[in-house]
């Protein structure tokens, strides 16, 4: 077991630090944290508006600064669905009890924001997300808590636009644009010489990544790093009679999935990529210089001019991945 092999010093240092820092919070005085939306502990809990959505829609019509009527063109606005917010607490199912927000405001005072969502909401990300998770707990959100996006303080509303009739991140043509607002490095890579067709929507970020959390690093879908790749590249799945070990381990060892400056999305081009692992007898690791002139070992696909079956071979004579 891996735990048994952890160096004792590292375990004791880091483990103790994490434990003590966590438990310290119980034993020591309260530190200032995000203000709870309901105010201080002694104040009355917030209350709901008197008439629900009718209260909200008196102001939030199409002419207001924050029009909301398009919600009725979305699944959230369908009253026929027993699970829909509009079959229950309506606007306040997500925005929280909003009597204060809807109430009268004295001249010169600022209208308090609704508890959750909206540009002036004081609720923390976790609390806002919980408003969504109250209904959307299951499905692909099972691994949300503790996932990379959750740990990065992303709220559901960072990516989703639930008031728009067509949430852009659910649209095949617009999803990548939403993701690239933060993932600019991947956007730049997708414009490189060899890239997956990310910038014209033929491949969506969601085809490989599960943004709500997975068991893999980098939010990759599937049980292993290669599972997502096999969805489109099923011919690489094998297993082959003659395997190339790194291929079965992780496609990302050789390929840069979002785009690269080298053919076939390779991180580096042959022969140098191959020479990062291989120096076989009979194939001395030649120092091929520009002065050597065009040679089969340097030009075109270099090593792959002969070793074409680099993903594995099913030929009885394919031990060297030549056949």
């Amino acid at each position: 077991m891996s735990i048994c092999r952890l160096p004792r010093r590292a375990v004791s240092l880091v483990g103790s630090a994490l434990l003590i820092l966590g438990l310290n919070q119980i034993a020591l005085a309260e530190a200032p944290v995000a203000a709870p939306v309901s105010g201080d502990e002694d104040s009355a809990p917030p209350s709901y508006s008197r008439r629900g959505a009718d209260t909200c829609l008196k102001c939030h019509d199409e002419d207001s600064e924050f029009p909301v009527l398009t919600i009725f063109e979305t699944p959230h606005g369908q009253r026929a669905d027993p699970r829909s917010p509009f079959n229950g607490l309506q606007c306040e199912a997500c925005h929280g009890p909003a009597a204060d927000h809807a109430g009268r405001v004295a001249a010169g005072e600022t209208r308090p924001p609704p508890p959750y969502f909206g540009p002036h909401s004081t609720a923390g990300t976790t609390e806002q997300n919980q408003a969504c998770l109250n209904c959307h707990q299951a499905g692909s959100r099972k691994h949300w808590t503790g996932s990379e996006h959750e740990a990065a303080d992303l709220s559901c509303a960072s990516c989703h636009r639930v008031h728009q009739p067509h949430d852009p991140i659910l649209s095949p043509l617009q999803q990548n644009a939403v993701c690239s607002q933060c993932h600019t490095r991947e956007l730049a890579q997708s414009l490189q010489a060899s890239a997956h067709p990310l910038h014209n929507g033929e491949l969506r970020c969601g085809d490989c990544h599960a943004a709500h959390g997975t068991v893999q690093d980098h939010l990759l879908s599937g049980m292993s790093p290669n599972d997502g790749c096999f969805g489109c590249h099923a011919e690489k799945r094998g297993p082959f009679l003659w395997e190339h070990a790194p291929v079965s381990e992780d496609c990302g060892l050789c390929h840069q999935a979002h785009g690269a400056n080298h053919p076939a999305l390779l991180k580096q081009r042959p022969p140098w990529l191959c020479q990062q692992c291989h120096s076989q007898a009979g194939h001395p690791s030649l120092a091929m210089s520009p002065e050597s002139g065009p040679s089969a070992m340097l030009s075109l696909r270099s090593c792959n001019n002969c070793h074409v079956q680099v993903h594995g071979s099913n030929h009885p004579s394919g031990a060297a991945l030549l056949r």
């Binding site: 008197r50 009253r79 299951a138 292993s224 690791s285």
Partner: protein
């Protein structure tokens, strides 16, 4: 007050209330404090006990909750009429391309394979008060990449969706080949072909060359069905079917002589996913099965060897094409969220990948025919996966996370001795097929502490343990320590910085089996070697007072990998990324501008004498990218404008250092300009006129690929590809009519 408590107040919601105010947990904690002051040794166990008690559901029952509203007064009379909503629209257009194969990025048409084309499309949307809905959409009928989408059902009860799409891929670089039957499984040279020992001596080659364009067409059909028989149950079925047809260049070798072969692509794959899911008060679980199958129309590619045969019977070669395969995965996933302070998710998975295609003969050469140890591949890999994540939140401001992951990839293909034939001309030393297997374990410990309302600190330790079979290093172990500080002041700005340091070590390197070709003893494969890795990221986002919604973002990232224990192979690698983007809404315009700079460096060493390192190669890729998008509604009366421009410039430099002195390879260059302009004029309430313009210029200079004629290399009958240097324009007009 957490949202959960609001939901609890409503009759239809059943989530437990979160504690609020002065809870019994606080009282317990306070009662423990004196004990801590007097007996510090009891502090830790007392704290643990306090945590457990505080987090128990029983204490949560005492929280103060919002009074439920009187829903009878919530009539929603201002809500839009819940009548039948229907929308039908048709669009048609005429596109003219100055060149073919221009892709219309993200617009309403994808693919234009003729100089002029007319296309049709339309969509129908229907929704009624009972929750029934239908959405049908067709795009690009008449173009070479049409799309069809059908989606309907009754919300909250069932849903059916059907998607069909054609995707075409064409290589930017066309080539040449003398073969007949290009793209088939049998490539023959014309009768007038003259074999020779060097390509330059193939006298009939110039007259027999024909142009060749590699590419393939994907046709993808997806069927999704979902059924919600009860609020707690959900079932789903997803079926994907895909076919690919086309061709691509493969290479076939006879010793040191190789030929580029226009090989066929004709395969199909299916994937079926079934899932059942249950959502309870405190936990959710799902069981899913994923089955996938791949079938190739051709199991082998046979070609005429264009060079002078080594023996009279070695005039043809045969390559194995990807064999048909199948995969099955069963996955049980669960989530527990029944205690306010504890959350857990877990997964158990079993899988099997197998492939049992008939094996090809060891050689076409009849004089070398020999019996195989078995007639089919009988290849099989079993996978086992397990995952557990525990999140513990002792206080609002603190979270601890423990995560464990196991993935085992056990290759159980029978090991048998084969006698490979080299170049159809001689049997080589016997080889036993290897079964590379690996078993990965990952353990993560993380602490997330909100130091202040606007500041957050995260610390973590990750251990990765990997065991391998049939590889030079059987065990590797990596530790990573990381920290992240995030600041999010209420001004709208945000700043985060992350630093991690990782160190990988492992067992001794060992030579592979006796029948494996020996490798230089100094060589270390980079994925197995000792490594020190540093990773730092900084992200800054600043609001700009220029206009509401304006912000400036800056991101910098640096990764450094050091393999100093490897004297041969990869010695060092680094990646640097700098990006800035600016978004604003100003005077009716929505603008976004970004620019980025990426640098990727590798430093590696090799030996031309099969001994210690005597050369070093340094490579450096530098990529600049920029983009601008502008949207303006009502630029002209009733006219909206959308403009998108992207630019990318990549440069690659490789420098070789050896005893004779350094030398530089020619620069690798790629450059892309892409402009998309859409203008939409709302001519009448139900009629829009659209104008599309696309421009794309792409050129690349790759000394390794381009400028080499088919016979430039004596031992390789090449593809004769030219550098891509294209400028493409296309204009389209379309009308969009809504009934």
């Amino acid at each position: 007050m957490s949202p959960a408590s609001h939901q609890l107040a409503a009759p239809s919601r059943t989530k437990p209330p979160a504690p609020q105010g002065r809870t019994p947990g606080q009282a317990i904690r306070n009662s423990l404090l004196p004990a801590w002051n007097t007996t510090k040794r009891l502090w830790l166990p007392a704290s643990i006990l306090a945590n457990i008690l505080i987090s128990s559901p029983a204490t949560a029952q005492h929280g103060v909750v919002t009074e439920p509203p009187d829903l009878e007064n919530w009539t929603c009379r201002y809500c839009p009429e819940a009548g039948i909503q229907q929308q039908l629209s048709l669009h048609t257009g005429l596109a003219a391309g100055f060149d073919q194969d221009l892709r219309f990025a993200g617009a309403e048409l994808d693919g234009l394979d003729q100089a002029q084309q007319i296309w049709l499309g339309g969509q129908l949307r229907h929704r009624d008060p009972l929750g029934f809905s239908l959405h049908a959409e067709v795009h690009g009928l008449g173009l070479d990449e049409p799309r069809l989408q059908l989606d309907g059902g009754r919300q909250g009860h069932y849903r059916l969706a059907l998607n069909y799409r054609e995707l075409n891929y064409r290589s930017r670089n066309s080539g040449h080949s003398p073969y007949q039957g290009m793209g088939s499984a049998s490539l023959q040279l014309p009768a007038s072909w003259v074999s020779a020992g060097r390509t330059q001596d193939m006298s009939a080659l110039p007259a027999l060359l024909k142009p060749y364009q590699a590419g393939h067409e994907r046709r993808r059909l997806q069927l999704d069905a979902a059924w919600t028989p009860a609020p707690r149950w959900a079932f789903a079925l997803d079926l994907d079917h895909e076919t690919r047809r086309g061709s691509r260049f493969l290479t076939g070798a006879f010793l040191t002589q190789s030929s580029y072969l226009p090989a066929p692509i004709d395969d199909r794959s299916e994937q079926l996913r079934l899932q059942g899911q249950w959502l309870g008060e405190h936990w959710a679980t799902s069981l899913s099965y994923t089955g996938a199958r791949y079938a190739n129309q051709f199991d082998a590619l046979r070609w005429d060897h264009p060079f002078s045969p080594l023996t009279p019977d070695a005039a043809q070669g045969q390559l194995a094409l990807p064999p048909g395969n199948q995969s099955h995965q069963l996955q049980l996933t669960g989530q527990f969220f029944g205690m306010p302070k504890w959350q857990a998710s877990a997964m158990l998975g079993l899988g099997r990948m197998s492939q049992d295609e008939s094996l090809l003969p060891v050689a076409l050469n009849p004089t070398l025919a020999s019996a195989l140890p078995r007639t089919s591949a009988a290849a099989q890999v079993d996978t086992h996966s397990a995952f557990l994540r525990l999140n513990y939140r002792p206080r609002r401001a603190v979270r601890l996370k423990l995560q464990y992951r196991l993935h085992a990839h056990d290759n159980s293909t029978p090991r048998q001795v084969f006698t490979p034939v080299l170049a159809e001309s001689q049997a080589t030393a016997q080889r036993t097929n290897t079964n590379p297997s690996h078993r990965d374990q990952q353990l993560k410990l993380e602490m997330d502490q909100r130091l202040h309302a606007q500041a957050r600190l995260q610390l973590g330790l990750t251990q990765k343990l990997r065991r391998r079979e049939d590889q030079a290093r059987r065990r590797s172990n990596e530790y990573k320590l990381w920290s992240r500080l995030s600041l999010r002041p209420r001004t709208g700005a945000s700043f985060s910085t992350e630093v991690s340091a990782a160190r990988r070590r492992g067992s001794a390197f060992e030579p592979l089996g006796p029948d494996q070709p020996p490798q230089n003893a100094y060589q270390r494969a980079f994925n197995l070697a000792d490594r020190e890795r540093l990773h730092s990221v900084m992200r800054l986002q600043l609001p700009i007072a220029l206009a509401p919604g304006s912000h400036l973002g800056i991101q910098a990232e640096y990764i450094s990998e050091d393999f100093q224990a490897s004297s041969l192979g990869l010695r060092a690698a680094s990646q640097a990324h700098l990006n800035t983007d600016w978004a604003t809404q100003w005077g009716g315009y929505a603008l976004r501008l970004f620019g980025s700079l990426d640098e990727v460096r590798f430093e590696q060493a090799g030996s031309s004498t099969f001994a210690e390192a005597d050369w070093r190669a340094d490579s450096r890729d530098l990529i600049q990218a920029a983009g601008l998008s502008v949207e303006r509604a009502g630029l002209l009366p009733r006219t909206d404008l959308q403009l998108n421009y992207q630019y990318s410039h990549g440069r690659g430099a490789i420098r070789l250092a050896q005893r004779q002195g350094p030398s530089d390879f020619p620069l690798l260059r790629t450059r892309l300009h892409a402009l998309a302009l859409n203008a939409r004029h709302h001519w009448r309430p139900n009629l829009d006129l659209n104008l599309y313009y696309r421009f794309e210029r792409f050129n690349d200079e790759d000394w390794q690929q381009h400028g080499l004629a088919v016979d430039s290399l004596p031992g390789v009958l090449g593809p004769g590809q030219d550098a891509a240097n294209s400028a493409r324009h296309a204009v389209a007009v379309a009308a969009d009519y809504r009934f």
